[in-house]
C-alpha cells in the first residue's frame, strides 16, 4: 500500500499561488519585499523536491528526508522573517507573513493541536482516522485564511509603496501547479477508496473476534460506504483522459460491496450454526449412551454432516474472498503508483 502524506499537495500550491514576483523600482520597500520573497522561493524549491520524490521515488527514507528538509526550510523562513525590522514603523505585512509561515510549518508537521481544538475534533469524529482527516481539512482552512490575510497585507504594502505585483510563471511554479492538479485528482479518489478500506478493516477485525454485533454494524456501514463511494466515483472526471485510478478504485469498491452485502451474511450464519451445533452436542453428550435412541443418534449425525458441509463452503468462500481482495488491492497500488509516476513531472 502506498502511503502518501495527504497534506503536502494542498500546502504547496496554496503557497505558490500566493508567491508574488515583483516588477518595480528598486526601492527600500521593494528590497524589503524581495527579502521576504526569497524565503518563500526557498520553500517552493524544497516543496517541489519533496513532491517529486513522493511521486517518482521508491525510497521511503528519501521521501522522509525531503520532507524534513522542507520542514527545516519553513522553520528557518519563519524565524528569518520574524527577525526582520518593521517597515517604516509598520509590522503588519511582516506579521501576516510570519503568521502564515507558522501555520504552514505546523501543518507540515501535522502539529494540529496548536491551531485547532483537537478534543472537539475527536468528539465529532467516529475514529482517529476520521479525526485526522477532519483536523487536516480544518487546518488547511486555517492555512487558507492566513494565506488570504497575508496576500491582502502584501497587496496593501505594494500599493502603499508603488509596487506592481505580478504572478510568477517560472518553471518550478508551473511544475508544482501541475503536480497539484494530479494530487487533487488522486486525493479525491484516494479518500473514496480509503473510507471503504478502513471500514473493511473494522469488519475483518470484528469477524476475527466473532463479535456479531460489530460484524453486523460494520457490514452495514461498509455497504453504505461502498455504495456512496461508487456513486461519487461516477462524478469524478478522467484526469487528462486517464480514468485508471477511478477504475481501480471502482473494482475495490465493487469487491467491498459484494463482500458486505452478499458474503458476510454467510460468515455470520456459519458462526451461529457452529454455536447451535455446540448446544446440540452438549445436549447429546449429556444423555447417557444407553438412553440414546436411534433417532437421537441419526439427528446428531445429520447435524455433524451439515456442519461439515457448511464448514467446507465457509472455507471455500473465505479463500475466494481473500483472493479477490488481494487482487483488487494490488491492482489499486499498482495503478496509483503508475498514475503519479506518469502525470507528475520529474524533478530535473
Amino acid at each position: 500500500m502506498r502511503h502518501l502524506k495527504l497534506s503536502s499537495a494542498g500546502v504547496i500550491f496554496l503557497l505558490f499561488v500566493l508567491t508574488p514576483s515583483l516588477v518595480a523600482q528598486k526601492s527600500k520597500a521593494l528590497m524589503y519585499m524581495e527579502k521576504i520573497n526569497r524565503e518563500m522561493d526557498a520553500i517552493t524549491a524544497d516543496s517541489w523536491e519533496y513532491t517529486s520524490e513522493v511521486a517518482h521515488g521508491k525510497n521511503a527514507r528519501k521521501v522522509e528526508t525531503k520532507r524534513r528538509e522542507l520542514v527545516r526550510t519553513s522553520k528557518m523562513a519563519m524565524e528569518k522573517v520574524g527577525r526582520m525590522d518593521a517597515f517604516e514603523g509598520s509590522t503588519q505585512f511582516r506579521d501576516s507573513m510570519v503568521s502564515y509561515l507558522r501555520i504552514h510549518y505546523l501543518v507540515l508537521n501535522e502539529d494540529y493541536e496548536k491551531i485547532l481544538n483537537m478534543e472537539e475534533i475527536a468528539e465529532q469524529s467516529y475514529d482517529r482516522m476520521e479525526a485526522y482527516l477532519l483536523a487536516k481539512e480544518l487546518a488547511d482552512d486555517k492555512l487558507d485564511e492566513a494565506g488570504e490575510r497575508m496576500q491582502e497585507q502584501q497587496k496593501q504594502f505594494a500599493a502603499a509603496n508603488n509596487i506592481n505585483l505580478l504572478t510568477s510563471t517560472d518553471k518550478v511554479t508551473i511544475k508544482l501547479e501541475k503536480a497539484g492538479e494530479v494530487m487533487k485528482h488522486y486525493n479525491v479518489v484516494y479518500l473514496i477508496f480509503f473510507k471503504c478500506f478502513k471500514q473493511e478493516a473494522y469488519l475483518i477485525d470484528a469477524s476475527n473476534k466473532k463479535d456479531i454485533n460489530a460484524m453486523e454494524q460494520n457490514k452495514n456501514a461498509l455497504i453504505s460506504a461502498s455504495e456512496e463511494g461508487l456513486d461519487k466515483l461516477k462524478g469524478v472526471p478522467a484526469y487528462k483522459g486517464d480514468k485508471s485510478l477511478v477504475y481501480a478504485c471502482k473494482s475495490c469498491l465493487d469487491f467491498y460491496h459484494q463482500e458486505a452485502s452478499v458474503k458476510m451474511d454467510g460468515v455470520i450464519d456459519f458462526y451461529l450454526q457452529d454455536e447451535n451445533f455446540k448446544k446440540l452436542k452438549a445436549s447429546f453428550d449429556l444423555k447417557p449412551q444407553k438412553e440414546r435412541t436411534n433417532a437421537d443418534v441419526s439427528e446428531y449425525n445429520d447435524a455433524v454432516k451439515e456442519l461439515n458441509r457448511k464448514l467446507n463452503a465457509f472455507n471455500k468462500q473465505n479463500d475466494g474472498m481473500n483472493k479477490a481482495r488481494t487482487g483488487a488491492l494490488n491492482d489499486w497500488d499498482r495503478t496509483a503508483k503508475n498514475f503519479l509516476d506518469k502525470h507528475i513531472p520529474k524533478y530535473k
Binding site: E123, Y202, E216, N220, L272
Partner: protein, 700 residues
C-alpha cells in the same frame, strides 16, 4: 425448650466475653480508610460536620432497630453525646468509640430482648384481650419509653406474627376455612416457629461469620457510605464475593446467589446470565426470598435466614428442582419453579421470539447488562442481542420490541454497545467526574444492526444502564419508549480495594479477606446535557401500572445525588421525530377501552389512597382472617388481571433456535413457559399494538 434457650444464652455469653477481649483496632482502622477513600474518590464528598454526624447517628440506630423493638428511649439518650460529634475536628476517634459503645449496648439489648421474647412465647397468647396494631407506612422508629412499654410492643408484634403463621395456608387445609377453635389448636406450633425465627434472626448477628463486632462495624460503615449516596457501599471480603460474583462455572446450579437487603431480608443478589433463574425470566435482582420448597418435605421459611445460609441451602441440597417464593420489587408475590442445570459458559443466553399477528415482529427481553465472563470489554449481552436480531431478521420481522422492564442495569460498556445496534454512530451519553471533567461515551461501531421500527419497554424498575439505552435511543428519535417512568439512577460506581493506593491493583485484588468499597465516581448525562438522576426517563407512551408511584425509586432516597446538567456542545444527528403524540393517543384510547388496564388503573388509584391512610388491624383470629382473606383476594385478583392471553398475536421461536429447543427436554419445558408468558403479558400485547401502529405510520 428450656435447655435449648439456655444453650443459646450460653452462646451469647461466650460472644460477649469474646467481644470484650477483642480489640477495636481493626474496625477503627478500616473506618479511617473508608472515610479517606470516600473523601478521595466520591463524586460529591460529604462534609463530615455536626449535621452529617447527627444524620449518620440516626441512620445507624434506624438500621439496627428500624421498628423500635430493641432500644428504649433511655438507651438512645445515653448515646446522645456522640450524636453531633462523631467526626469532630476531622478525626474519627469519636465515631470509633461510638461504634464500640453501641456494639456493646446492642448486644446487651439483644440478650435482654431474647429473654423477653422467650418469656412471651412460653405462654399461649390471649386473643381475648383487645389488641391492635396500626400500619402507617414507613416512618422513623419511635422508641418505647420504658421496658414495660417495650414488652407491650413485643406482645403485639409476636401476636401479629403468630396470627400471620396461623393464617398462612398449610398443605392440608386452608386456614381461612377453619373456625377460631380449630385455628387456636395450632397456636403452640406457631409460637414454636416464632421462637426459631427469632433465634435465627439473633444468630445472624451474634454468630456472624466475620464475628459480631465486625458485623456491627460493617453496618456502621455502610451507614457512613450510604450517607454519601445510596449506591456507595462498603463491602466486606464475603460481601464483595457476592457483589462481584464471577459467573458460576459450577457443574449444575440454579444460577442465583443471595445478598442481604437493607432491612436484613435475603434478596437475590446475582443471577448467573443464562442460568435457570435467569432463563425463567421471572426472577430479578432485588427480589426478596420468602420461601423455598424442595420436591419433598415442608416449605422452608427463609425470613430471618442469612444470605450465606440461604446460598448454602440452595447450593448444597441434593435436589434438582425447587420452588422459590419471592416478593417482587413491586410487592407482588410469586412462586417460580427452577431446575438445576449445567450452565454452559459458551451459550447464547438471550432468546428472541417472533410475535406473529397482523404484523410479524421480533421480541427480545434483556433482564440485565451482563458482560463477558473473563473481562469487562469482551463480548457480552450486546453481542448476544445482535445475534438474536440477526436470526429474527432472517424471519423477515417488520419491527422489534426490546423489553428492558425490571432491568436493573450492569455494564455501561454493554449498554453503549446495545444502543449502538440501533444507531449509526455518535455520542450516546456523557459522564462527569468530581473535578467537573466531562467525557463523551460514543457508539462503539459505525453502522447499525437493525434499522426498522423499534419499541423499548421500560418500567419503574428499569435502572442505570437500561435507562441510558432508553435515553440514548430517545435522543436520536430511534425508538418509542413505552411503559412507566424509569428508576432514576444516572450515576456510575467503581469498586476499590479499601486500602488501595491504586498502584498495585492486581496484587490488592488477589489478596484474600480484603474489604472493598463501591464508590459513586461519576454522574451520567444525556447528550442534551440533562441528567436523569432521580427523575428517570419518562416514557413516550405511558401504560397504567399497578404499583406506579408506590415505590418511588431514587426519589425516595434522602441522600441521592441531585440531578444537574452539563453545558457542553455535543455533535450528533438525530433521526426525524417519531409520531409519539399520535401513537400515544391511539394507545390511550385502546387502554381506556381495555378491561384489564381499566381495572389496573382503578386498583392502582385505590392502593395509592390506601397507602396514605392509617390501617388498624385488630389482633384477633376472626378479624385477622378477614384481613388475610381480603389481602388474598386482592392478590388473586391482580394475578388474574396480569395474566390475560393476548388475542392479537401468537409466539414463535426462530428457525435457528428450533433445532436446539427440540434437542433437550428442559429447553422444551422452559421454552413453553416463556412463550406462554409472552402471550399472557398485557404490556407486551399493548407494545405489539403500538409497534404495529408505528410500522404503519412509517410505511406511509
Amino acid at each position: 425448650m428450656a435447655p435449648k434457650n439456655g444453650c443459646i444464652l450460653l452462646l451469647l455469653g461466650i460472644s460477649i466475653s469474646c467481644f470484650a477481649a477483642m480489640a477495636q483496632e481493626v474496625p477503627c482502622r478500616q473506618m479511617t480508610m473508608l472515610v479517606n477513600m470516600l473523601e478521595k474518590y466520591h463524586y460529591k464528598p460529604v462534609e463530615l460536620n455536626q449535621t452529617t454526624s447527627a444524620e449518620i447517628f440516626d441512620d445507624f440506630i434506624e438500621r439496627l432497630d428500624p421498628y423500635g423493638n430493641i432500644f428504649i428511649s433511655g438507651d438512645i439518650k445515653a448515646l446522645e453525646p456522640y450524636k453531633n460529634n462523631l467526626f469532630i475536628m476531622h478525626s474519627d476517634e469519636k465515631a470509633c468509640s461510638f461504634l464500640k459503645s453501641i456494639t456493646e449496648l446492642y448486644l446487651r439489648k439483644l440478650q435482654k430482648t431474647d429473654t423477653l421474647v422467650s418469656s412471651i412465647l412460653e405462654h399461649p397468647f390471649d386473643f381475648d384481650v383487645n389488641d391492635s396494631i396500626v400500619f402507617t407506612g414507613h416512618s422513623q422508629a419511635n422508641f418505647a419509653a420504658n421496658d414495660g412499654e417495650l414488652k407491650k410492643r413485643w406482645v403485639r408484634r409476636l401476636k401479629y406474627k403468630a396470627l400471620n403463621i396461623l393464617c398462612t395456608p398449610a398443605e392440608e387445609a386452608d386456614p381461612i376455612a377453619l373456625d377460631n377453635k380449630q385455628l387456636l389448636l395450632k397456636e403452640a406450633g406457631a409460637r414454636k416457629k416464632l421462637m426459631s425465627q427469632w433465634r435465627r434472626f439473633l444468630q445472624r448477628m451474634t454468630e456472624h461469620p466475620s464475628g459480631y463486632e465486625m458485623f456491627m462495624a460493617e453496618q456502621f460503615f455502610n451507614t457512613i457510605a450510604n450517607r454519601y449516596d445510596p449506591h456507595t457501599l462498603y463491602l466486606s471480603a464475603a460481601g464483595k464475593e457476592r457483589f462481584l460474583l464471577p459467573i458460576s462455572k459450577e457443574a449444575r446450579a440454579f444460577g442465583l446467589s443471595c445478598t442481604e437487603g437493607k432491612n436484613g431480608e435475603v434478596e437475590i443478589g446475582y443471577l448467573t446470565p443464562g442460568g435457570p433463574a435467569w432463563k425463567s425470566n421471572q426472577l430479578h435482582r432485588g427480589d426478596v426470598l420468602l420461601q423455598l420448597k424442595w420436591p419433598e418435605g415442608e416449605a422452608l421459611d427463609l425470613s430471618y435466614s442469612s444470605d450465606s445460609e440461604v446460598d448454602e441451602i440452595i447450593n448444597n441440597s441434593g435436589y434438582d428442582k425447587m420452588w422459590l417464593t419471592v416478593k417482587k420489587a413491586n410487592g407482588m408475590v410469586s412462586t417460580v419453579a427452577l431446575v438445576r442445570e449445567t450452565i454452559d459458559v459458551e451459550e447464547n443466553i438471550i432468546a428472541g421470539y417472533i410475535l406473529k399477528g397482523e404484523k410479524r415482529v421480533g421480541y427480545i427481553s434483556l433482564p440485565g447488562f451482563y458482560t463477558s465472563r473473563d473481562d469487562q470489554v469482551g463480548l457480552g449481552c450486546a453481542n448476544d442481542v445482535a445475534k438474536e436480531i440477526f436470526k429474527l431478521q432472517k424471519e423477515n420481522i417488520e419491527g422489534l420490541i426490546l423489553d428492558l422492564r425490571y432491568n436493573g442495569g450492569g455494564s455501561l460498556h454493554e449498554a453503549i454497545g446495545l444502543a449502538g445496534i440501533f444507531i449509526d454512530q455518535g455520542p450516546l451519553c456523557m459522564a462527569k467526574d468530581r473535578y467537573q471533567n466531562v467525557r463523551l461515551m460514543k457508539d462503539l461501531n459505525r453502522g447499525t444492526v437493525f434499522n426498522g421500527p423499534l419499541v423499548v419497554m421500560v418500567n419503574g424498575f428499569s435502572a442505570s444502564a437500561s435507562e441510558l439505552v432508553a435515553a440514548g435511543l430517545r435522543d436520536y428519535n430511534r425508538a418509542l419508549i413505552v411503559g412507566s417512568n424509569t428508576f432514576g439512577k444516572a450515576i456510575a460506581q467503581v469498586t476499590f480495594p479499601l486500602d488501595s493506593d491504586l498502584t498495585s491493583l492486581h496484587n490488592l485484588l488477589n489478596q484474600k479477606n480484603r474489604a472493598f468499597v463501591n464508590i459513586t465516581v461519576e454522574q451520567l448525562y444525556r447528550v442534551n446535557g440533562i441528567s436523569h438522576q432521580k427523575t428517570g426517563i419518562a416514557p413516550d407512551i405511558e401504560l397504567p401500572e399497578l404499583f406506579t408511584n408506590l415505590d418511588d425509586g431514587e426519589t425516595s432516597e434522602p441522600y441521592a445525588i441531585l440531578p444537574d446538567r452539563v453545558d457542553k456542545k455535543v455533535y450528533y444527528t438525530p433521526l426525524p421525530e417519531l409520531p409519539a403524540t399520535l401513537l400515544a393517543e391511539k394507545s390511550r384510547s385502546r387502554t381506556e377501552q381495555h378491561d384489564v388496564f381499566t381495572k389496573i388503573k382503578q386498583l392502582s388509584d385505590s392502593l395509592r389512597t390506601a397507602r396514605k391512610q392509617k390501617e388498624i388491624l385488630v389482633l384477633k383470629p376472626a378479624a385477622f382472617s378477614t384481613y388475610v382473606k381480603k389481602d388474598r383476594e386482592l392478590k388473586a385478583f391482580t394475578a388474574r388481571l396480569m395474566k390475560a392471553p393476548a388475542a392479537n398475536y401468537s409466539v414463535l421461536a426462530t428457525r435457528f433456535d428450533e433445532a436446539v429447543i427440540k434437542s433437550n427436554n428442559f429447553r422444551k419445558e422452559m421454552n413453553a413457559v416463556l412463550m406462554k408468558k409472552l402471550t399472557d403479558d398485557i404490556y407486551i400485547e399493548e407494545a405489539y399494538s403500538i409497534l404495529t401502529d408505528l410500522i404503519d405510520t412509517q410505511k406511509k
